[in-house]
C-alpha cells in the first residue's frame, strides 16, 4: 500500500502522517510514501486549466510504478482529485494523451487505472472490527467531529459504498469505538456535515474565517471537549487559524485533533507516537 500525504500534510502537518502510521501499524499496515509526488491539481490548477488532471494522473502512475494497487490519502481534496482523475482515465483518448505526457517525464511511468484511492477514514472503517479489538481504554470525551466533505461527494464518483454522501456515518462510528461521544451540534444538529470553510480561504479569507467561527461557536455551545478532523485543510482552518477568527473571543478556543490521534489514544499508543502535545485526559 502507498501513502500520498499531499502538499499540506507533507509540509505542514507531519503529525497527521505520524499518527496515521502509528494506528495503521497496529493493524499490520506499513504504507510506503510516494516519492516525487506532485500537487494533486485540485482545486487550484483545475481552476485555470482542464489539464490539471495530468497532475493527479502522474501521482497515480507513481503509485503504479511502486507496484501498489491502493494508495491511502489523508486530505479530502487530494482524495477527491485522485479519484476523479482515475475515473477520467476510463476515457481512452485521455488515457493515451496522459501516457504520452508521462513518457516524457520518465519512460517507466504508466497510468492504466489499476489504483484504488482510499482516504484514511474509509481504510479504517473497513477495518472496524480489528480496530475495536485493539482498543485498550475508553475515552471520556465529547467530540465535535467534522466530516471531510470531499471524501464522500459526489457520491456517484468518489462516494463510499453504504455511506449517505450528505450524512456519512463512517467517521462517527470510528470515534465511538474509542468510547468518546460524537456529539450532535449546530442549529441543525448536523454541523458535523457543515463545511469548515477552509477551501474558501484562497478566494475570500474573511468569509472563510466566518465559516470557521460559526463552527467554533456551535462546538462551544454543545460543550465539546475537542474538535476532530480527518482532513488537513479542515484542521488548518479550525485549529491553526483559530486565533485569527477568535481574536475577540478567546474563550471559544478549543483543542483539535486528527482522527488517528484519537484512535491511537484509545489504543494506548504513546502521545509522542501520535504527534500529540495536548493534554486531554
Amino acid at each position: 500500500m502507498a501513502l500520498y500525504p499531499g502538499c499540506l500534510i507533507l509540509q505542514r502537518m507531519p503529525k497527521y502522517e505520524q499518527a496515521a502510521r502509528a494506528v495503521l501499524g497496529e493493524l499490520g499496515i506499513a504504507p510506503q510514501i510516494v516519492q516525487e509526488a506532485a500537487c494533486c491539481g485540485a482545486p487550484v490548477v483545475e481552476s485555470f486549466t482542464a489539464d490539471w488532471v495530468h497532475l493527479s494522473i502522474y501521482n497515480l502512475a507513481l503509485v503504479e510504478r511502486m507496484g501498489c494497487d491502493t494508495v491511502v490519502t489523508l486530505c479530502g481534496s487530494c482524495t477527491n482529485a485522485l479519484i476523479r482523475a482515475s475515473h477520467a482515465l476510463q476515457d481512452a483518448d485521455l488515457r493515451t494523451e496522459a501516457n504520452r505526457r508521462l513518457q516524457r517525464v520518465s519512460p517507466d511511468l504508466m497510468a492504466t487505472d489499476t489504483v484504488t484511492v482510499k482516504h484514511l477514514v474509509r481504510l479504517l472503517a473497513e477495518r472496524e472490527g480489528e480496530l475495536r479489538a485493539r482498543m485498550v481504554r475508553q475515552l471520556p470525551l465529547r467530540v465535535a467531529l467534522t466530516n471531510p466533505c470531499q471524501v464522500f461527494r459526489p457520491g456517484d464518483v468518489v462516494g463510499i459504498e453504504g455511506e449517505d454522501p450528505m450524512h456519512p456515518q463512517a467517521m462517527r462510528r470510528l470515534v465511538e469505538l474509542t468510547g468518546a461521544q460524537a456529539v450532535e451540534y449546530g442549529e441543525s444538529g448536523d454541523a458535523e456535515n457543515e463545511c469548515c470553510g477552509a477551501t474558501l480561504y484562497l478566494a475570500a479569507p474573511k468569509l472563510s474565517l466566518a465559516a470557521g467561527r460559526r463552527k467554533l461557536e456551535a462546538t462551544h455551545r454543545c460543550s465539546a471537549d475537542l474538535l476532530l478532523q480527518g482532513c488537513g485543510n479542515s484542521q488548518l482552518l479550525l485549529r491553526n487559524f483559530q486565533s485569527a477568527f477568535l481574536r475577540d473571543a478567546p474563550d471559544l478556543h478549543q483543542p483539535a485533533l486528527f482522527l488517528p490521534q484519537l484512535l491511537g489514544l484509545a489504543m494506548g499508543l504513546p502521545k509522542e507516537a501520535l504527534g500529540l502535545r495536548e493534554n486531554l485526559l
Binding site: A38, C39, A50, C149, R153, A203, A204
Partner: protein
C-alpha cells in the same frame, strides 16, 4: 455565463451551500436566479453539496470550473497556481527543509518532484 438548460431554478443548491450561510454568493446564486449579478464563481468551498442535491443532475462543479478559466483569479488562487507551475507543489518548501521536517518527526525521507515536471505535464513554461 449561459444558464444550464437542465436547471429548473428550484434553489435546492442555494439551501445547502455553506458560502450562502456566511453571507457570500457562489455560483448557486446564479443558478437559482439567472438575473442575479452579485455572485462569484470563485466563492466556493468545494464541498460538492449543491452537486449532490441537484434534482436534475446539473454539473455545477464542472460549470464553475469552466467559468473560472475565463475570469480573473483572486490573488490567493493566482499565487498558488504559479507556485505549482514553478515547483509542482501548492506550498513552498526546499528539499533541505523537507529533509529536516521528516527527520524531526521520525518519518522516512521524501524526494520532491522533478523541477521540469509541471512544464511537461501541463505543456506550460514555469514563467507563464
Amino acid at each position: 455565463m449561459k444558464h444550464p438548460a437542465a436547471c429548473i431554478q428550484c434553489g435546492d443548491c442555494v439551501e445547502v451551500c455553506p458560502v450562502e450561510k456566511v453571507g457570500g454568493h457562489a455560483i448557486v446564486t446564479f443558478l437559482a436566479d439567472p438575473d442575479a449579478a452579485d455572485y462569484s464563481v470563485w466563492l466556493c468551498t468545494i464541498c460538492w453539496r449543491c452537486h449532490q442535491v441537484c434534482p436534475t443532475g446539473v454539473d455545477i462543479y464542472g460549470l464553475m470550473m469552466e467559468r473560472r478559466r475565463h475570469e480573473a483569479a483572486p490573488g490567493g488562487y493566482q499565487t498558488a497556481f504559479e507556485r505549482v507551475l514553478r515547483s509542482g507543489l501548492a506550498l513552498p518548501i526546499s528539499q533541505e527543509e523537507l529533509d529536516q521536517v521528516r527527520a524531526a518527526w521520525g518519518l522516512e525521507p521524501v524526494e520532491l518532484p522533478p523541477a521540469d515536471l509541471v512544464h511537461i505535464l501541463l505543456h506550460k513554461s514555469p514563467s507563464e
